[in-house]
Symmetry: C2
């Protein structure tokens, strides 16, 4: 058998031409979104004021298994995709493990993360509908960067509401978005009603993702020819991100491999849901039985310590309600450098799969242990991972070390979602031993669970 290369790049011909909709193969569907005014299941058309129509349809379509990727989207994908499948030979050797460690690397584009996969699709559909502008929020900045690039390409205006804390701490993230032409606003801002109200109540707040979402939605719904877009959580986003898993599966098949364990970091679930999609299909259809692990920060443990309940997606409580693992929309995320994993909820699809035990395990990791793994990986494999991605690395290393004990030659696949170029302040803190681990107390969580909505007859 030919030696497996350090890195496999599929050819342009092998780029998937369709996204895969995992819901089509789920025996039980995630519970429907609810209209926040009526608590009734939301109709597709009711989403049109917020999302552009094609995306609203993708959001609510649980039966179409495959969606054609438009040619215009493929044209951008082809600049940076198929993304590489790496084999972490050096890491394996350093660990002394019989396990084989593969990673699907999504940091090979200027946005620095997998977020571009959905940003391009969402910007395209907006352009198709004749819209002229979009709004969104960003925390760590990966999504805002990706969407700025996509909007620049399609000639759309973009307002990014960036959590004020990040806005101040990450001026270079802001600069990248501005380079691609985005208007970056520190949230809460005085440009929206909800922002002004929050500022009036708490002038010194550094903002939150939930607050930025509320502002972005207000801006979208009060601006002509404008819609709101979101980089995670939603079904449509997982659909677009399925390209990660589809490519990974094709690449592994080409190598004669199939993963025993698939590991993804989990914030809103976009990377995890995309990476596992075709492998989960195999499991749902009884063809294979890979073991799936979601890894989240111990500081924001929605899967491991949250409730499976209906909740708002934002703190302003203007979004539709989704049934998901959640800490409550009032959850105050603790300081944590994996800003992309600091959301109170979790994708309804991922939540349902976890609830029904198709997603086998959720695991939380403390920040310093995550950075231990990040630095170890960087030194051995020359890729400096984003803190988000390093959660998956932590878990992959732990699983590989278990194999060392048991002697099992398991095949591990994890998602390396992005690079850490804009997270050097966090690395510096780690190197200077000033990084802390924060785990919310049961009391903290109870207080935020108390913010869960009461829904007569459904959730009392």
């Amino acid at each position: 058998m030919a030696k497996i290369p350090h890195r496999l790049n599929l050819t342009e011909d092998q780029l998937p031409k369709q996204w895969y909709n995992l819901r089509a193969d789920m025996k039980e569907q995630p519970d429907p979104l609810l209209n926040p005014a009526t608590f009734q299941p939301i109709r597709t058309e009711e989403l049109y004021p917020i999302f552009c129509e094609e995306l609203a349809q993708q959001e609510t379509d649980s039966s179409t298994a495959y969606f054609d990727i438009p040619d215009e989207v493929l044209d951008i994908y082809k600049i940076y995709r198929p993304s590489p499948l790496g084999r972490a030979y050096n890491l394996e050797k350093a660990l002394g493990t019989p396990a084989k460690i593969y990673y699907k690397f999504e940091g090979n584009n200027t946005s620095g993360s997998h977020k571009l996969n959905s940003a391009v699709a969402q910007a395209y559909y907006a352009k198709q509908q004749g819209l002229t502008s979009l709004t969104t929020e960003t925390g760590a900045g990966q999504w805002g960067t990706a969407l700025s690039e996509a909007c620049s390409y399609f000639g759309l205006n973009l307002d990014v509401f960036m959590v004020k804390g990040s806005f101040m701490q990450k001026p270079y993230r802001k600069a990248v978005m501005q380079t691609f032409g985005a208007n970056v606003v520190a949230s809460p801002s005085d440009t929206t009603k909800v922002g002004r109200a929050i500022l009036a109540a708490n002038p010194d707040t550094t903002g939150s993702l939930g607050c930025a979402i509320s502002e972005a939605i207000e801006k979208a719904t009060t601006t002509p020819n404008c819609r709101y877009v979101l980089g995670s959580v939603l079904n449509q986003v997982l659909l677009h991100q399925s390209i990660i898993g589809l490519e990974a599966k094709t690449a592994m098949e080409q190598l004669g491999e199939y993963p025993d364990i698939v590991i993804g970091c989990a914030g809103g679930g976009s990377n995890l849901g995309g990476l596992i999609a075709p492998f989960m299909q195999d499991k749902l259809l009884g063809r294979k039985n890979p073991y799936f692990i979601a890894v989240e920060p111990a500081s924001c443990p929605s899967l491991t310590r949250g409730r499976y309940a209906y909740d708002f997606c934002d703190t302003g409580k203007v979004t539709p309600l989704a049934r998901m693992y959640t800490l409550g929309s009032g959850f105050i995320p603790s300081p944590n450098h994996a800003g992309g994993l600091r959301y109170h909820g979790m994708s309804p699809i991922v939540s349902k799969l976890y609830h029904d035990r198709y997603l086998d395990e959720a695991r939380s990791a403390e920040q310093t242990k995550v950075f231990d793994a990040a630095v170890q990986f960087a030194k051995l494999e020359t890729i400096l991972p984003a803190p988000e991605s390093a959660h998956a690395i932590r878990c992959a290393i732990d699983e590989a070390l278990k194999c060392k004990e048991t002697g099992e030659e398991k095949t591990i696949l994890f998602g390396l979602t992005g690079t850490g170029y804009f997270d050097m302040a966090a690395y510096t803190q780690y190197l200077e031993h000033s990084m802390t681990d924060y785990v919310p107390s049961d009391g903290d969580l109870q207080a935020s669970f108390d913010t869960l909505p009461k829904i007569p007859g459904i959730q009392d």
Copy 2:
């Protein structure tokens, strides 16, 4: 004919197994290095106190055409190489040019630039010789980052003397190097004699590359089992960087293409020399006649306004003398964001090829026009280029626009040496219209030419 893909990745099997030494095919050789004490041509052994032996031999070997790349070096190359060859379809379309624009992209590794190609080789040979530590200097930080990664991988200690101005302005560059275990020292420092002397004379200096080189060499020659390594200018570096051109040529051949114009940015000449190597071989051997253009900043115009003369490689005047295009080792580089192109001299090989007109043209570009090109490219091709690389983009765009006027369907290849993630302060300045263009006056240059050494009988 099959459509040419947006991006071609050669397979691991196609990774070159040998570096190509351009000197072997040059009819006239670059003038030899001179011993700074005797002004006599330096013998290989005289370089051993500074460079490790294998590298000293590569430095002075003008007859061996191909050097085997050691397996241990190939093992790291395989993590990030072959690097992609891109076709800038979107840029072509936006320009409305009949030209075909290709770029060889070297930003696909954590170091963010082509510098890793030589860093890995130099660290390997040092390890092979049983050395325990290395020293180097870095300006913009790309070389320091690359070498930090390589030393981390091979278990070597590394002291990086970072120009103090960069050290203060680019804390995140410093943090990346520290993450990979390097000891980063602001230069001038109090850790060396030459540093202390400079600080005593001028306590507020923000340093220079030439000064950092002097400190790194002093440190290397006064530390047991330690040598100095350099990221550009030297023949050995161009040898290692030939992998860029070798891959580019193989990829273009696979597409049935050959460049009419090859464009590289030029600081010390490492990228330019590496990119053009196999195409220049074709020209030297009369097989093909591509047109070569070197692009440098108008603020540091060694090829376009410098003298072809013997000069020191550092301001401390401790290095061997090289005959090259130079502005004089006393040249004070002006503020310019392309820190990697801010060196007073130019690779002796590149200099000789330019002097003999095999390298057809050198061109200088002003900073704001370079950033115009950088932002245009980023918006269309989703890659945010390093300011250094953007010099080549500027030229590629200008050449493509000429083709638009003449109707010629020329094939253009340029080197996209790296990404601009750590240069966002520069992009911000550009976006805020506070970026200035600086061009040294003839008087400024005359003053620095006066620092050229007098060499009896050779250069009076």
